[in-house]
């Protein structure tokens, strides 16, 4: 688990009659990350025929995606799938009638289209009425400026009148124009008062509908405030009614999809199983009577996979396993990388893979990163109250973003960081900037503001020293990890003579010893002359050897003419290593910097709040509002800063030292894995 999982390459040849059972077994196991036979350089593999599935894979995917979009209309997300037993897989594939499924999906699509069309018509009405309402409001706004300035009077017509017929008849005729007909109340037993607003350009057409027998015209322009309000309110009401009717279609759609939820999920499951099943088959190659496939699996499931295939073929197959090294030597194929980080530490794995996927066979630093990440964040953001806020944000965020049972990684990381901040807050005795309980380790606030603090750390210089030692620790850890990675990849020269190898480490650790001795005793160690010789000479010699070896490797032999250039390179490299290590270590002082800034900012808010005082109720309210705002600001600002700096220290100072990237993620074809995304 501390390094990437050991992989083996599986190649199997099966008689053609076992094609389907083997496919089912591979899907049930969900362990094989297929290798295309094209990747093999051998002539035999290139002459193999491709297997085409009986149903087009792209069609299956298209309909599956379409179904997902239908489910999304009903706010539904397909459930996560687990690999079913092979018998069920075969039964599902055989029983799936693709034509029926496509007909069903097309039927639902047609129904959605029909409802959308209805919705569209109502939207047209909505926009028409909304447009007239806007123009009326603008006209009323302009009314106060004097009627001659009201340009709306030049094109807007507002009529009041009595309508003696069913308004829906007139509404239908008016639908084609920018107009609105709205009721203003009853005027008689069989008649109602209506207002009709339209544009002057449509005057002739509109008047042709307004038969004097059904409409007693009374053309007016706006002026009576009570009538204006009535008009606006009535149109607004009409607008809301249309909106409600329009939204009803979406609700109807949602309900219809919800009604069919179970059957749609079942169809989706069938499509996904078929898609994965045929995707596996398309990765096979064939000869006249056999099928051949190859892929990577984790070494620890080797027995389980070979047993499954053998059982499916009644033992009539040939299976070959090659180790990663053998596969690389024989076919030049690099294995994919499987990081076996436990689920609860996955957020830290994401921090690593965002930088780069570790190369095969190197260290998976997720365990260590989980510790260093929380250590750095906690030291920068050590307050139990603020940490609790982050922790709760992480918990609630994880719950709310839970999609496909996979909460957002950022919130999961926030839970860890919040926990670290709470832990360090308790150690520092800091709760929302208050010291409600005594510090278990040292009082950070006391150390920063210069109060006579008790505990092992009592002033800023000691805080700085603490973080410098943290830097030395993290860098040293990075160097040690690099030793391991170099050894596992058999990069012996890099292990011995690289700046992150033994030579560089020796230089660094000697430097740390010198500085420590000087700071502790006020003078360098007495063995200065041979100490200098040893700590500078040895690395210099090793760096020089590496440069010479590189030069020989590049040019085939050593050229004396390149010696001055090599010496110059050596000098520059030495300076670079020296200044690099110094800067990298000092870089960790930012951990103290951020921690001090956190404490200082809270102190500022407390000072400001004390200036307000608490002697009256008003002042007391002001005091607590300021404290609250201060806490919010510190959580947001410092939380973000601490987060960025923690990431930066890991990416730049830690990972750069040892992490060999460029790995390809292991992606087996299975139902529980998003292999095609």
């Amino acid at each position: 688990m501390i390094r990437t999982a050991k992989m083996v390459q599986l190649t199997a040849v099966i008689p053609d009659r076992f094609f389907q059972p083997v496919t089912s077994v591979l899907l049930e196991l969900g362990q094989l990350d297929f290798i295309s036979t094209k990747e093999f350089s051998s002539l035999f593999f290139s002459s193999l025929k491709k297997v085409n599935s009986t149903i087009s894979l792209s069609k299956l995917k298209e309909y599956r995606k379409k179904l997902e979009s239908i489910l999304a209309v009903g706010n539904l997300v397909p459930p996560a799938l687990q690999e079913p037993p092979k018998e069920e897989i075969l039964k599902t594939v055989e029983a799936t009638d693709f034509d029926t499924i496509t007909d069903e999906i097309d039927g639902i699509t047609a129904e959605i289209d029909r409802l959308r069309q209805e919705q569209r018509l109502l939207q047209k009405d909505f926009l028409r009425v909304e447009e007239m309402l806007k123009q009326l409001q603008l006209a009323l706004k302009a009314k106060g400026k004097g009627s001659h300035e009201n340009i709306y009077a030049t094109f807007l017509v507002v009529r009041h009148g009595e309508l003696k017929i069913d308004p829906s008849v007139l509404l239908l005729q008016l639908r084609e124009f920018s107009s609105v007909l709205t009721t203003l109340g009853k005027s008689g037993e069989n008649s109602s008062r209506y207002a009709l607003v339209h544009l002057k350009k449509d005057m002739l057409k509109v008047e042709s509908f307004l038969n004097p027998a059904i409409w007693q015209n009374e053309e007016i322009f706006l002026g009576d405030s009570a009538l204006d309000d009535l008009l606006i309110n009535s149109i607004t009401k009409q607008l809301n009614e249309i909106k409600e009717a329009r939204d009803q279609y979406q609700k109807e759609l949602e309900e219809k999809i919800l009604e069919k939820k179970e059957s749609l999920f079942e169809i989706w499951k069938r499509l996904r199983i078929c898609e994965t099943y045929f995707a596996i088959q398309e990765r096979f190659s064939k000869t006249e009577r056999t099928f051949i496939f190859s892929g990577w699996i984790a070494a620890k499931v080797k027995g389980k996979v070979s047993e499954g295939i053998l059982k499916a073929c009644d033992g009539e197959c040939f299976i070959e396993f090659l180790s990663a090294a053998e596969a690389k030597n024989e076919a030049g194929i690099t294995p994919p990388v499987k990081l076996e980080t436990p689920r609860f530490l996955k957020p830290f794995e994401k921090v690593i893979t965002d930088f780069s996927v570790p190369a095969y066979g190197t260290l998976n630093p997720a365990y260590i990163v989980s510790i260093t990440f929380m250590l750095m964040f906690g030291l920068m953001f050590g307050d139990a109250g603020h940490g609790a806020v982050l922790l709760l944000t992480g918990i609630f965020g994880s719950i709310f973003t839970r999609k496909k049972e996979q909460p957002h990684v950022l919130f999961r990381l926030l839970i860890w960081c919040g926990t670290a901040a709470v832990f360090f807050g308790v150690l520092f005795g800091s709760y929302f900037g208050y010291s409600w309980f005594p510090a278990l380790w040292f009082n950070y606030h006391g150390a920063v503001v210069g109060e006579h603090a008790k505990g092992p750390i009592q002033n800023i210089m000691q805080v700085l020293a603490l973080t410098a030692w943290l830097g030395v620790g993290v860098i040293s850890l990075g160097i040690l990890f690099n030793f391991y990675n170099c050894a596992s990849r058999k990069k012996w020269i890099d292990l011995i003579a690289d700046k992150n190898g033994i030579a560089g480490a020796f230089l660094y650790w000697m430097g740390v010893f010198w500085v420590y001795s000087y700071l502790k005793k006020g003078a360098f160690p007495s063995l200065l002359w041979w100490g200098s010789l040893l700590s500078l000479g040895c690395p210099l010699l090793l760096f020089g050897i590496r440069l010479v070896l590189h030069s020989i490797h590049e040019k085939g032999r050593f050229q004396w003419s390149s010696l001055p250039l090599l010496l110059m390179e050596l000098l520059i490299e030495l300076l670079e290593v020296f200044s690099g290590y110094l800067a990298n270590t000092l870089s960790f002082l930012r951990v103290a910097g951020l921690g001090i800034a956190h404490v200082s900012l809270m102190s500022v808010f407390f000072s400001l709040a004390q200036m307000i005082g608490q002697d009256t109720i008003g002042r007391m309210i002001g005091y607590w509002i300021l404290i609250l705002l201060g806490n919010i600001l510190v959580i947001a600002l410092e939380g973000l800063s601490a987060w960025i700096q923690t990431l930066r220290l890991h990416y730049y100072e830690f990972f750069n030292r040892f992490l060999v990237g460029g790995g390809v993620v292991y992606r087996p074809i299975s139902l529980s894995n998003q292999w095609d995304e």
Partner: protein
């Protein structure tokens, strides 16, 4: 103030925004969606998830387009608010471009209603009523009886003088092309004016960008005026804008009286970096020529973005790059929405993108 401090915040801000733009790969994947609803669901995890909610609520594609255009303008105005001095003035002129486009759209609608006697009622709700820089009297323009009245409504705005000068021409020709051209000319004039006030290093970058825009505009004018109005090459010259980077107005071609243009040789001569030898245009196929001009414009703009992003980050180049990329992103999304609404096949959508 140093160059770095002028742009430190804005360049970091824009770099963040640039990385949030939808990638080519994602858009091509979207082009594979079966229909509009599937496409909108694909936008769920992007900053455009509002499109899904809006469409599910209204089933109205044009409302989505309107919202997207507002989103584009808001992004540019957001940059404008974060800048100051001459850079802010330049950004303001970029926003002015949107106002001019809106005014042109209003004029086209007015023309459709008043001159062509078409109903525009279905289109007017999609006009954004938000103020960009000036208060444009939308309803009065759309309802104006004639063009003179349209111009009268614009009194007090910079557009009044420009359009007043072409009233007679528009009334005689019965086309608003001259009004549109006058507005475009004003936009380019304002851009050049804003560029002249920038610092010397910014001026070079911005002037190159404006030159690029002028080249694309001139090419469009050349094709349209020559094809629709049969202008001779000499006549065309007076309608072209000076200041382009690639298309020279001193080219002997513009001294000829004939109206036949050899498009292949014109493109080869002036745009050789973007025009391959083995590509040949059919002179009678206007659509092909226009789509080639559009393709050329895209190439030139993309080249400009590449240059701007790889040059000094503390310069106006980053703002211009964002402006181009944001515009392209919105245009592509609108293309996708329409293509999926009409269920165009993947290959066709890919070409359109």
């Amino acid at each position: 103030m140093s160059r770095a401090s002028d742009y430190d915040y804005i360049q970091a801000n824009i770099r963040g925004k640039l990385s949030n733009l939808l990638s080519e790969e994602f858009l091509l994947d979207c082009a594979r969606s079966k229909d509009l609803e599937s496409l909108l669901v694909a936008f769920n995890e992007t900053p455009f998830s509002f499109l899904r909610d809006l469409y599910f609520q209204t089933a109205d594609l044009k409302s989505c387009e309107k919202k997207l255009k507002e989103n584009e303008l808001a992004a540019i105005e957001n940059i404008y608010k974060k800048t100051s001095g001459a850079v802010a003035d330049f950004c303001k002129v970029l926003s002015l471009g949107y106002e001019i486009e809106k005014l042109k759209e209003l004029l086209r609608l007015w023309f459709d209603r008043a001159v062509c006697k078409h109903s525009i009622d279905a289109l007017t709700p999609y006009i954004s009523r938000d103020k960009i820089i000036h208060d444009i009297p939308i309803d009065p323009i759309l309802n104006a009886a004639d063009f003179r009245q349209v111009v009268d409504f614009l009194k007090g705005l910079p557009y009044f003088e420009l359009l007043n000068a072409v009233v007679d021409k528009i009334e005689t020709d019965q086309t608003i092309y001259n009004a549109e051209m006058a507005l475009d000319n004003y936009y380019f004039f304002s851009l050049n004016e804003a560029v002249s006030h920038l610092s010397s290093s910014d001026r070079g970058i911005a002037a190159h960008y404006v030159g690029t825009l002028i080249d694309i505009e001139n090419l469009n004018r050349l094709v349209r005026l020559n094809s629709y109005f049969q202008f001779t090459k000499k006549e065309l010259l007076s309608h072209l804008l000076p200041g382009g980077n690639l298309l020279s107005l001193h080219d002997p071609i513009f001294k000829e009286e004939s109206n036949t243009i050899d498009w292949n040789s014109l493109f080869q001569k002036n745009f050789s970096n973007y025009f391959s030898d083995d590509y040949s245009l059919d002179h009678d196929n206007l659509l092909q020529i226009l789509s080639h001009v559009e393709w050329l414009g895209k190439q030139i703009r993309e080249h400009h973005v590449f240059k701007a992003l790889s040059a000094n980050p503390f310069s106006i180049g980053i703002i211009i790059a964002f402006f181009i990329r944001k515009k392209t992103e919105i245009r592509r999304i609108i293309t996708l929405l329409n293509a999926k609404y009409y269920r165009l096949p993947y290959e066709r959508v890919k070409d359109l993108l």
